[in-house]
């Protein structure tokens, strides 16, 4: 079992899928000669040439739409956004074109495309570079949304996303690229889209989360075990559309308590959706109201202390978990 970074895992996924299927190509700003702004596409230009690893002009709407057109006629584009903040310029193509063409054409034109890039806060990049786009996109029928936390899931989900016949939004974490984890060598890894993974078993409280917050949740779970003798079960959604509601419900029915953690803003977000699923389908299992830990309801400030204050921490998660356990 090799230990590699999240960045290397994504690179392996791209390389393997491009080698496997000639219709797969990568397009985005700086993906070719520069090896990717975050080096995810390192050495791919050399391996596959300029038509398959294409440096795009700074024109997110344009190259996202180019991907949609290529997908309509049979290619499998992977569109890299340098960050999802810049992808806001391309949302017309993601939402009005990619997500709708299959139905709007009466099932004649499916759009096998992956839109990928990092989301969430990094370090002191301020309001326009620190946003979590998941709920903006999860609202839209026609899209699938992945947000992996570990190198294994990053590789397995990206490979599944490339093979999926519909548009997949793939949100990476800017601060996750250096995270290391075990990824088997010489083995085809395909993580199904829409399947959650229980990252830690526990009987006392369920922590539902995804992406970067999985790591905070696991840290919180260790603290809770040591300091409070509370065993938390950490459910990593991995995909936020579709949400693996059955796995969430099974865990809540076991622990009778839930804390939902996400990096983004608190209003109309993924956690709000999951609370609805839990209250409708597992109301009788609950021993406490479901708690939510989110980013604070403000644009991200620049100052180091304020940036830390705005984002959920393991400490915040422990507080919420103790609340639902009435500790």
């Amino acid at each position: 079992m090799a230990v590699i970074t999240y960045r290397e895992a994504l690179n392996e996924a791209l390389r393997e899928e491009m080698a496997r299927d000639e219709s797969v190509f990568l397009i985005g700003e700086e993906v070719a000669e520069y090896d990717g702004a975050y080096k995810v596409s390192k050495n791919l230009l050399e391996a596959f040439g300029e038509w398959r690893v294409r440096d795009a002009p700074i024109a997110e709407l344009g190259f996202a739409g180019l991907g949609v057109g290529a997908a309509m006629v049979g290619l499998r584009p992977i569109v890299e956004f340098m960050t999802w903040n810049f992808a806001l310029l391309a949302l017309d193509q993601v939402i009005n074109s990619a997500a709708k063409l299959y139905q709007m054409s009466g099932g004649q034109y499916n759009v096998p495309i992956v839109f990928r890039g990092p989301g969430g806060a990094a370090l002191m990049l301020a309001a326009q570079h620190s946003q979590s786009p998941e709920s903006w996109l999860a609202y839209v029928p026609g899209l699938k949304i992945c947000s992996p936390a570990t190198p294994y899931d990053a590789k397995g989900l990206l490979k599944s996303a490339v093979r999926d016949n519909d548009p997949v939004v793939f949100i990476e974490g800017e601060l996750l690229y250096n995270v290391k984890g075990e990824v088997p060598e010489d083995e085809e890894i395909l993580v199904p889209i829409g399947s959650a993974d229980v990252k830690r078993q526990g009987d006392d409280v369920t922590i539902v989360t995804y992406g970067k917050m999985v790591h905070e949740a696991l840290r919180a779970a260790e603290t809770l075990a040591t300091e409070d003798e509370v065993e938390a079960e950490v459910v990593d959604l991995r995909s936020v559309r579709p949400i693996d509601v059955p796995t969430v419900l099974a865990s809540v029915r076991k622990t009778n308590r839930a804390v939902i953690v996400e990096e983004g803003w608190p209003v109309a977000n993924i956690g709000a959706q999951i609370v609805d699923d839990i209250q409708r389908e597992a109301f009788d299992a609950l021993d406490a109201p479901v708690a939510r830990v989110t980013g604070l309801d403000v644009p991200m400030p620049y100052a180091r202390n304020l940036e830390k204050l705005v984002q959920p921490s393991a400490e915040n998660i422990c507080t919420a978990a103790r609340d639902v356990c009435y500790i």
Partner: protein, 365 residues
Amino acid sequence: MATKETRAHGNTPAKDTPAKPAAADGPDLPGLEPGELKELLRLMILARRFEEKAAESYQLGKIGGFLHLYIGQEAVAAGAITALREDDYVISAYRDHAQALIRGIPARAVMAELYGRATGCSKGMGGSMHLFDRSVNFLGGHAIVGSHLPIAAGVGYAIRYRGGDQVCLCFFGDAAVNIGAFHEALNMAAKWELPVIWIIENNAYGMGTDIRRSAAISELVDRACAYEGTASTQVDGMDVQKVRAAVDEAVRTAREEKRPSLIEAITYRFMGHSMADPSHGTYRAREEVEGWREDDPILSLSDQLIAADVITAEEYEEMDRAVIEEVEGSAEFADASPSPDESHIYDLVYSDEYPHGLDRRDSWR
């Protein structure tokens, strides 16, 4: 009959600057065979009669939503699309009925789509603005202005990626030249030498706004100079043979030189922007519309073909009758067709697996 100069519009220069003769320096006429000329005439009549029937059905409440008619502009779609091969691609904005018909989608499938029926070319899921037919490489009907231009660039990219020699023909209105997607798409197509033919259907108005009031350029075709390698020409969009000649040349440029072209076809819509908009009133005068109607592209061609003995007046009447019959039949077919099956409401959201189902939150239904 109005002269070219009097009916030039769009960003025609002020009178004290020398007027650019639209298409005067364009390519020679293509020298079409009599059969091809008759077919061009028939296709334009089909587009006209279809729109007339659609307007009637709309007034009767059989068609919903927006309905943007193509009446007056038929020479553009007919001249352009007939220049293509079967394996080429066509993509359009939302004023797309004529393009769909001329590309070969049966009138009954287009009419049934307008009626929202399961037998429509998009199974009743798209409507007037979203006509699709994969079997004739008709890539839609797109209703966000400018959004399909990058998509057309992507089709061009796929053609080059596979080493093919097809082309992608992309229709859009004059007002689309002002949206960012226009620039982004033309820039990529030029830089990567994509075989896309951009056709501005300059009918003078973006909805009710005169293009001269919104575009900071006097001739829209001149925008091409910003995209090196893009061939460009302005053509009389009321003359189907001139449109055909311009697109023939653009097709050759795309196939042989792998270069995109920007064609500005000067045309005019005789009706309002949509059925909600009268043909004249707030933003254009009755006299202006009447002036353009004198230059009806169908009558111009039929007069020319009759004068040249390519077709007799009787044959023309017969052609028209046959088209009317086809169009009437399409409306009867649409009327008799079933609505889409409600039990399949979730079937076309995803083509691939969607775990846990889309219906888990609709228990109120």
